[in-house]
Amino acid sequence: MNANGSIAANGTSVSIQNLSLNFGAISVLQTLNLDVAEGEFIVLLGPSGCGKSTLLNCIAGLLDVSEGRIFIKGKNVTWEEPKDRGIGMVFQSYALYPQMTVEKNLSFGLRVAGLAKDEIAKRIVRAAEILQIEPLLHRKPAALSGGQRQRVAIGRALVRDVDVFLFDEPLSNLDAKLRAELRVEIKLLHRKLENTMIYVTHDQIEAMTLADRIAVMKGGVIQQLDAPQTIYNRPVNRFVAGFLGSPAMNFLDGRLEQAAGDWHFVAEDVRIPLATYAFEKDPVPGPAVFGIRPEHVAFNSGTGWPFAATANVEVVEPMGSDTLVWLKLAGQNFTVRVTAERTPNNAEAVGIGFDPMRASLFDAATGNRL
């Protein structure tokens, strides 16, 4: 699958062309293409082992590619050293030099590059101010908390004054509360600096909240590259549909059938009319998978929906802000997201309804969107 997303009008910052990477006989990345516009925030999202961190390391120049080319700012950097690529990188484990103070950590790259002392001082002051780490400058990393360490790590990329920021799961080592805080800070930072940022994560919330575009990866291939809302609402295949969204999308196995000119999705006694569904291509009768997100299903709200049914509640999972209700539809598990005030009782008979306009249909064999 090719992933040439639309390129913003203001030019390309990072361009990856036909990139392949093999470790011996194992192919990690396969002829991958990706264009990142200037100032864009791209998130590489996928399960572990999908090649997202590998791709980032290739962009950084920390791994030698087997085939293909990488351009940064229009310059072919495929065989350049990391320092010559105009990138800054933030690592999951912070990777701060333990024997150096925060200030020395920030200035290390600049000192290696042989910058003038006053220029180094100026840049450190600026980075420390942006990240609010001025009081920490003379401490060693061991005397910092996780959140502070990650700020310093971001600062180290910041002082390099680069065009492209690379983030390798920067928030994964932090607890949930800090993660949410730093997520917002990274977003603010991006707005302030307007740099290109490429961000690797397996956390779909981080991806949805931060990205201008998300590249969902699996097995070294970009499955879909698009704006978060598009990926969420119109996933190109069943993998993308299942990977994004929590609680996960409902999938029903069944068949596509045509009756009197109208298309229906049929699973046992359930017949879902598809008049409002926008098909990608002309449908053909046969096995298919019907997917709909739990929050797109209406609960006990009348019969005005294109599809409505009643079912018995099997399990209720209260999650605080809302409640997840498990039912059986056509003999298959089906979940509905309900506001906390309307939590039903176990075994209660409830009515559900939805508009197939918001659903996704997938080919049963290939998993591609229909």
Binding site: P82, F91, L96, R156
Partner: protein, 309 residues
């Protein structure tokens, strides 16, 4: 023993009323402690006894030694044997004592330790972080080197040193020590550097540091413990070496161990036990001091450099 046990009054609610509170009572003379410390004391005495005999004998004069009471403390303490061992005992034609061997050993040990550790640490660093093509094969070859018995190598090395004109010189012996220290030291350093987070190395590369920049500015400051271990291993190993010393040097460049052997094993004249004992203690002093000064660091470093794939 049993008189230290706390007796609880019987009855309901006992545990609530008399349950644990305050420091746990210690039974100094419990059966367990007596057994434990008794064994330790016996073993310690067993190991210390020879040292005691050596020290005591070295402080006696020859007439007193001839009485045959080797465990009895000296009646008249004399430092004569120590002075003789250091400065006037005869080995072969030279009669300037162990001092000559001591300085030879210093001149062998210091350059050998520095050279072997410098080479091995760079080797280990390259093998751990710059995984060049064939790195694993190279590493295996190096490790196999650690298992080749020294005896096999002695004669070929004699020939090599003779051909390059270093046979019998101290620099020749320094090179031999450096080569033989390489496999085990490289393994030590490689394992230590492998255990360091890889992202640190990557961050340094993004920051623009090269091979030597990362080695000197990132890796070295973080690896003090393993350097201490390597120094201890090499200092004691090279100082205590006898075989290479006797094979690759000449009488006037003999290291201290070889000279000690020549003093103790000389067959001419009276056996001066007190001088022999003093000479032996003098020779063993350097490794002993190294161990005393570095005990804790040594254990820490060994644990840090433990063999890891």
């Amino acid at each position: 023993m049993s008189d230290h046990t706390v007796s609880l009054p019987a009855g309901p609610g006992t545990l609530e009323a008399y349950g644990p509170s305050g420091p746990k009572p210690r039974h100094m003379f419990s059966r367990r402690n007596i057994f434990l410390y008794g064994t330790l004391i016996v073993v310690a005495l067993y190991y210390l006894l020879p040292l005691y005999v050596m020290v005591v004998t070295s402080l006696k004069g020859m007439p007193e030694i001839r009485l045959g009471n080797i465990f009895s403390p000296p009646m008249e303490i004399t430092f004569e044997p120590w002075v003789k061992a250091w400065s006037s005992a005869c080995t072969g034609l030279n009669c300037d004592g162990l001092s000559r061997g001591f300085w030879n050993s210093v001149r062998i040990t210091i350059p050998s330790v520095i050279l072997s550790i410098a080479l091995a640490s760079v080797n280990g660093y390259a093998l751990a972080n710059w995984r060049f093509k064939g790195a694993d094969t190279f590493f295996i070859i190096l490790i196999v080197g650690a298992f080749i018995p020294y005896q096999v190598m002695i004669y070929p090395i004699v020939i090599i040193l003779r051909e390059v004109g270093l046979y019998g010189s101290l620099s020749g012996l320094v090179i031999v020590h450096s080569i033989f220290g390489m496999p085990i030291l490289t393994l030590l350093f490689r394992n230590y550097f492998t255990s360091m987070p890889e992202e640190l190395f990557r961050a340094a590369r993004v920051d623009g540091a090269g091979f030597w920049g990362i080695y000197f500015r990132i890796m070295l400051p973080m690896s003090l413990p393993i350097f201490v271990v390597a120094i201890i291993l090499q200092v004691t190993g090279i100082w205590n070496d006898f075989l290479f010393g006797v094979v690759y040097t000449r009488p006037d460049t003999y290291p201290m161990t070889v000279q000690l052997n020549n003093i103790v094993n000389s067959v001419q004249g009276v056996k001066e036990y007190n001088v022999n004992m003093a000479a032996t203690i003098l020779t063993g002093l350097v490794p002993l001091i190294v161990y005393f000064l570095s005990g804790k660091l040594f254990v820490r470093g060994i644990a840090a450099g433990a063999v890891k794939g």
